[in-house]
């Protein structure tokens, strides 16, 4: 069985751990330069749209109806890592899917024991880290997503939903799930399926997956197989979601060579940036992680991760690589033998939403144009002549790296000068 652990309103929840006055209040987290709202608490959702420009909200802020804070990625990255390490106490295999979602594998549980285990995990993450989560467990990733959604939306579940293969409960949930809410099924696809008379996840699960493959795509075929309860989606599938992009790979052998790791991070960063451009998105932040081999308890273990915020939303490989290199610099420690390295791009937005990018970016129009041309040429060359034909070099060591963080809350857990002061 596969579990999806999703942190509730993650950025806002991180802020609330250290500022309990924000509990139960309408809270929004702003992008850097305080451009627009990128994360919301449940309370603020009826008042403020996702992506709303912050300057339009000044009246609500002044009258005390809402609270806005700047994004504090250093805090979010640290809290995400804490959530992950609590999960790792409960299951040997945890895969971060994004900064606030993790897949966990559960083997060898009876259904009753699994429910108990999932409930305990739900409780412990909240207690240990202060972050509330929902837990959905099911035979496949696609179903685990649906279980998680049920855990979040249906009060009776209390944040934990375990769906067993062939159960009436699973059937009921599938019948009540509209096509849009299935992982990887978007607007246009839904319309084409509606023409075939399909309305719900249950309808789609009844289809012959081979027919679906012929009519649509391998991607949708996989979704159908997963809805039928057989795992078909691998974490590194290029097809998964548009909200975040991850590239990671294990090294051929354990390595402690910084140069080797840096090279891997640069490749992953470049690959991620290409994916980003191919789907016309911009990223706001870059997360870099390293892993030692957990199955070698004889070796010292260290699996750090860090989030670095980009100066403005971008799809420029240079800026993404610069951020990733900086991130590696922060977390790399010698003498650990690393098994895996990865780069994740976070908080993606649509590149074509002009209004947003204008508000957000201190990059001039001319600069954007130039960077756009350069990146297009880079992608074109690599496509024609083979991946890696044109690569970017390393940014000069010691190059000034600065982040804009106008109204950021303190980095409570990662800077001595900023730890909470209490009496």
């Amino acid at each position: 069985m596969i579990g999806l652990i999703d942190c509730n309103n993650f950025y806002v929840s991180c802020e609330r751990v250290f500022n309990p006055r924000l509990d139960g209040r309408p809270v929004g987290v702003m992008s850097n330069n305080d451009g627009c709202v990128i994360a919301r608490s449940n309370e603020i959702k009826p008042l403020v749209k996702m992506g709303a420009p912050a300057f339009q909200l000044q009246q609500l802020v002044r009258s005390g109806q809402i609270h806005l804070v700047s994004s504090n990625y250093e805090l979010y990255g640290d809290m995400s890592r804490r959530v992950q390490s609590v999960l790792e106490e409960y299951t040997p295999e945890v895969e971060p899917y994004s900064i606030d979602e993790m897949f966990a594998h559960f083997h060898g549980f009876t259904p009753a024991a699994l429910l108990e285990h999932a409930r305990e995990l739900h409780h412990k993450v909240r207690q240990y880290t202060g972050i509330p989560v929902c837990v959905g467990v099911a035979p496949t990733r696609t179903l685990a997503k649906l279980a998680n959604r049920a855990a979040k939306k249906i009060d009776g579940y209390g944040g934990v939903c375990v769906l067993n293969a062939g159960s009436a409960e699973l059937k009921g949930i599938l019948q009540r799930t509209p096509l849009d809410d299935i992982w990887g099924v978007g607007g246009r696809l839904r319309e084409r399926l509606a023409v075939m008379g399909l309305r719900t996840a249950w309808d789609l699960a009844q289809q012959d997956h081979k027919a679906i493959k012929r009519k649509f795509s391998t991607t949708l075929e996989r979704t159908v197989i997963e809805l039928q309860g057989k795992p078909a989606i691998d974490m590194n599938d290029p097809s998964e979601g548009r909200q975040r992009i991850m590239t990671s790979r294990s090294f051929g052998r354990l390595t402690e060579s910084k140069a080797e790791i840096h090279e891997a991070i640069r490749q992953h960063g470049q690959r991620s940036a290409e994916k980003l451009r191919s789907q016309d998105s911009l990223a706001r932040a870059v997360m870099v992680f390293l892993k030692t081999n957990r199955h070698r308890p004889d070796l010292p273990q260290y699996s750090p991760s860090i989030v670095v915020e980009l100066a403005h939303p971008t799809d420029d490989s240079r800026e993404i690589l610069h951020a990733a290199s900086h991130a590696l610099e922060e977390i790399y420690r010698p003498h650990y033998r690393f098994m895996k390295a990865g780069v994740m791009l976070l908080d993606l937005i649509d590149a074509n939403r002009q209004q947003l990018s204008l508000l957000d970016t201190p990059q001039s129009g001319a600069e954007r144009e130039r960077s756009h041309k350069l990146m297009a040429t880079l992608d074109e060359l690599n496509k024609k002549m083979g991946r890696g034909t044109v690569k970017l070099g390393t940014p000069s060591p010691g190059a000034a790296w600065h982040l804009r963080c106008a109204h950021r809350t303190p980095r409570w857990t990662t800077r001595w000068e900023e730890i909470p002061k209490i009496s």
């Binding site: 890592r81 390490s85 106490e89 240990y128 273990q301 420690r333 009496s423």
Partner: protein, 146 residues
């Protein structure tokens, strides 16, 4: 945090969980990458000594003199562990009326209270709705002027 589901101090606390396995308890696993580990076998790691569970351990700084009766002074650093279930006698970090404060957990006539080190402040009943435990203070780091 949802205000209506606080996790409370346990009036009759269960026994503490088994000690954290050493392999995971290493300071480097999460949160506190320790340069000291590079010299493993040659020196002692204070992280390993003070931090039993990195994922649930947070540092906080102390201001004011209200906890001097408990040996906690202005400018000290607290090592706070959220994974522990509070028991009478523990020093706690608690949320009282939306404020994060340091208190001592005490039983007075069979009921749980949060007490300040300063007699000016009345004990607060832990059963009050706007009162929650944030974490348990495991140690206090006090640096002398040198």
């Amino acid at each position: 945090m949802q205000p209506n589901t606080p996790y409370r101090a346990h009036p009759a606390p269960p026994l503490l969980a088994l000690p954290y396995p050493l392999a995971l308890g290493r300071a480097g696993l999460s949160g506190f990458p320790s340069p000291a580990q590079d010299y493993e076998g040659r020196t002692l790691d204070l992280n390993e000594h003070l931090i039993k569970r990195p994922a649930s351990t947070f540092f906080m700084g102390v201001t004011g003199d209200s906890m001097e009766a408990f040996g906690i002074h202005d400018g000290d650093t607290l090592v706070v562990d959220r994974s522990l279930d509070p028991r009478p006698g523990h020093i706690l970090v608690a949320l009282v009326e939306g404020e994060i404060t340091i208190k001592r957990y005490q039983q007075i006539g069979n009921r749980p209270y949060l007490c300040s080190g300063n007699p000016r402040y009345q004990p607060v009943a832990l059963t009050d709705l706007d009162c929650q435990v944030w974490g348990v203070v495991r140690s206090v780091i006090h640096e002398f002027q040198v």
